[in-house]
Symmetry: D3
Subunit: 262 residues, 6 copies
């Protein structure tokens, strides 16, 4: 049996959260996503993706989903009402507390499933911290990696977003239309793409120079991308692909362990 | 319109989270509750109570529920697998970050709705911190105040729990049987009451001397109380009464403001 | 022999601060108490109460009073000249340092004797922190618990203070007239009672809703209560009763230890 | 005139470190690099690269190099004698102190030139922190990005390192043979490549799953890669290409500024 | 009128703690001082010296003594039961909190009167911190500077202590025999002088090389010096001289202010 | 063999950084030194002095120089562009991280060679912290101790600096003319001596009262002293004498160990 960690009793946890178990900690965010999407986007996506993965693979792979962290480091949206963000230091402390408790419980594998792109480098740091401090095997996966934090997908280089659809754009809006259509107001969706940035060779999302940006550095609209053509059908396709990919990643994760070369 | 803060868009938040709005931050916990209850008890109770209150009064009183904090300071259960706790310092930083963001958003009234007795004194401290640091009007309410943190209810002084039913006992178990019967295994419920403690005059739950305790100071069972006679019917009664009382408290909170005496 | 910890030599401390000894740490404050009382009220009351208790019971119960902490978390009076307050984080660090040293010395029982109501929830938290971090048995006692932090005394519900005499009011002023009449100027005493607050059902001192307040939220006078009728005779009665009660509490504390239920 | 910040006088700094100037902070490390390379590799590479860039472009672009941070977060090598590492929290504080001072001096553009791959995600976080806290335009560039932190170079996918040459391998050794041949002992160089890791689809350096690793997770040799075929000629080629690329990046950086989309 | 800060009322403080006032914060310690002296030595000496100075000069110079900090950084005596020490970080936070409050109150001059040699460098740092953070004029004075922290007195170079009487030796014991003879047990006094250290040219108390030491680095006795010949008469002479000198220092302090050279 | 720590490989470090080795950590600063000297003065002096000492004695005494800390606590110059300073807390964390790593590496003796007078009391504190936390033997030495932190040299009492040449004055300027004449512009040198301070009996550099000062408390020029008569010849003499003295100190340090008196 596997599934949601919080449904276990203490004695269950003592028996089941052992060295063979893997715990996923979904990381959400409460942050502005433009006029057409709710603050909860990342909270919902992380929770839904973790739930889908655990539903599909929990029993088979002995994987447990812990409760989603609703708040995380969203300070690129600090300027907007409704954004509730933890500081870098707070966030590291929260993650360390969680890792410490899971290691104490007997778990060896901790997976951060990150719904908010703005956390990805921080969580990468946290993976090493928990590896060293608590001896855990730690992993970081994403339902969707925005191009701000990875090389852009060449398939979308020519689309209306110019590879700059990093926050509340076509894909994220579509996924929300699939998961929670009641929370999307497509009539408010407008194109908001920093075309000047896409023209750069190096300093751009996914470029060779990483840079510190706040979402209001690109104006007051809030999202960055072009959600106008979003659809639930595209969202379903993207979400299903993502869950499939997360499951593939998890299969490798649960079998992963370090081996000395010498 | 009012309800769940995370369903707002950024522009909505800018408009609605104003000086007339009140935001509830429900505080849960993931911690052992004995062999018959899940780790999620406080997470569920806080979330359900906040949801019920907002459903009933949100629109009328302009009250918004923020996402429930799933993890909090549960270090009295640090000894048990499955308990995931934030340190005192981490917890204060989280609360300060949240309060700062709400104040920045324009809100004036912040209400902590606390599902975990172990947080109550910490949250009391946090109320003052947020009052001074961020100028918020801050409040602390509980669906259920365990006798460990308040004078015991004279009505229950003679029952089988001897006023010591502070964690996973008759009441909490009953409430969970009402809210989430699928997560209660009453067949595992046993009486675990520190009778020796009840005999003290001062050093006891709700006594005149407060004391530092861990739940394993009372043995290895985990809960403290007597859940044996719990029932969904009692749970429903207790929960409904609690929601009614919380609504009454909130009516006073939304009208509250300080007045100089001179 | 027992008494004041600071009068011991190092070798004495090594011999006497053992598992049978109990150490009291009195916690004072330097904070405004209105125009008729000195900043030192809580410093004096905590020190005098601890001294009286140790004089009476020190030898018999092997109880030692450590030096009084003069400064503590008085940030509800931050607005007033003369108030010297430690932040929440500083205060927790100070208490943790003290608890660590006492545990290292070999003591098992640590009692905070708190003269400043504003510390009571923080010290309650600290009791658990020291229990978990240092393995100490920890306790919190008060010479006087103001109604801001406990259920109001029904005996005083009808008096001129309306249960709101929480700071520099009738009782505290009387006690100071008994202990240090040279530091009280009753000619400056005026009634300063938030009558509007007493009319609340829930949000009030000792009410079911706890709230974050600063003493200047009630105006610029500083004290909250009605010291006009204070007298040394009442002060003596209250102080003597308090010392008697503290001694009764201590008798139970020194015999207290945890027992497993199972 | 431009060049090395530390050679300025205070009055010079006041005049020259203005809104048009760009300051590079090179970030080194003191950490084990296997038996054939010195602890100083990243310290030297970062300093040399910054020096070369400033020599070539300093005057033209008004770019200043601050002194290289010799110590940084090298905790993946904590197990090895000689590694001197700053904790995550220390490192963020150091970077924040530096950014604060540069912003105070009047500079608007801060570039971290990072010689140690293990810092790259932390520095990415720091870029946002400094953007928000101090209003700086912040950038992160690397002389060499190891595949542990970026998609692997398809050109090298078939080589003896299998894309796993992330630390003290062919390229880094060659560069050191170019820069400081006196500090390389190629007779000690051995192949140390985690072939098992290269076989993974997701959990590997540059794979879709990021993971927490320590260099001794791969055995006790210390470096990860195959330095056997390293040469000064290759090192010169790589270093010159890198400096050329850094200069190209800097040209874009000094002209970069945010533009609202709306 | 001047004297003890804690005896002021809030309104008095508002009026009197102004830019012309100087506040002394005496800093004590609770730490082992060998078998013949109590833990309280530094607490008593700092308090008595501050009291004597304020008695003599308070009114004339508008100088106020705040309550003595009983606990400070005594970690060189961490090995001994009874020593209660604040960490370096805690101590700085306490001092910053105090300085902040005094600056807020309107005071411009803050004087640390330090009874514990082990604090002297820390307090020197704190003087600058408070100068920069709070704009205070800050000063550090000592009733007695042990040779561990200053050049040794040539007059005592040939005595039985060899300039190494830094803790619980002839002078400190004599002063305590004058101030609190009831707390000195001269029958326990033995000579404990690190003769080997006195033979060094550089690494010694007051030498050109400062070094990190703990009192148990010199054995298990605790004090360092030779108290055998101590007397109340010598103590009175030393104390009176010290108070005279502190008064002379204070006269200069209250008139001190910075003047630009240009 | 001995010399520069960063030139070692990991395996070398494991073998050579043992209990017989001594590691010097030079501490520099980047801070204004007036109009005639560069920001790098302390960085250069500390590095050059450490290099000279290791060159002369490294092999003989098994002494290793770690990379110089370029940034340290220079907050007395926070007002000046170009000064880059670490806070007190950051600096202590950096030093603790370094000490921890050296202790882990197997070293027993750590020497701070401090080029910036403003660090001297902080480093004195750090010596004790590292002694207690990491068990190291710790030492603090200075190429030049300015009179702000030590008793003034009677030989210079009558010179044009009046004992107040503490920063960028005759000596420091001369040493820089010797070490890096290209970075000194003597045509900008002016006399800037706080004559009013020299007239004080107690509150002055090297006086009996230590005080918190910032360099702009003495005006806007930046240096404090009289560099007008500086010369490379004097600088060479001072530097050579200093290196000779540091070597003498180090000879004693490497043979130093604690001995119990009893």
């Amino acid at each position: 049996m596997a599934g949601f960690l919080e449904m276990l009793t203490g004695p269950d946890a003592s028996r089941l959260l052992n060295a063979d178990a893997t715990v996923i900690v979904p990381v959400g965010a409460i942050e502005q996503h433009g006029p057409h999407l709710p603050l909860a986007v990342d909270h919902i996506v992380a929770s839904e993706a973790a739930g889908a993965v655990v539903d599909r693979l929990g029993d088979e792979l002995n994987v447990w989903a812990a409760p989603t962290l609703p708040y995380s480091k969203s300070n690129e949206h600090a300027w907007s009402a409704g954004t509730i963000w933890l500081s870098n230091e707070t966030m590291h402390r929260v993650l360390d507390d969680i890792a410490r408790c899971l290691a104490f419980s007997g778990v060896r594998r901790l997976v951060f499933l990150n719904g908010h792109g703005g956390n990805s480098t921080l969580l990468n740091v946290a993976c090493r911290e928990a590896r060293l401090a608590h001896g855990l095997l730690t992993f970081l996966i994403h339902p969707f990696i925005p191009p701000a934090y990875a090389a852009p997908d060449p398939d979308v280089a020519s689309d209306t977003e110019l590879g700059m659809g990093i926050h509340g754009g076509l894909r994220e809006t579509s996924v929300m239309m699939h998961l929670r259509p009641d929370l999307v107001d497509l009539s408010k969706a407008v194109r908001n793409v920093p075309e000047w940035l896409a023209e750069n060779d190096h300093v751009k999302f996914g470029g060779s120079v990483q840079f510190g940006w706040l979402s209001n550095d690109f104006g007051s609209v809030g999202h960055i991308g072009d959600p106008v053509g979003a659809s639930a059908a595209l969202g379903k396709k993207l979400f299903d692909e993502s869950v499939g990919f997360l499951c593939e990643q998890l299969r490798e994760i649960v079998g992963f362990d370090f081996q000395p070369c010498d």
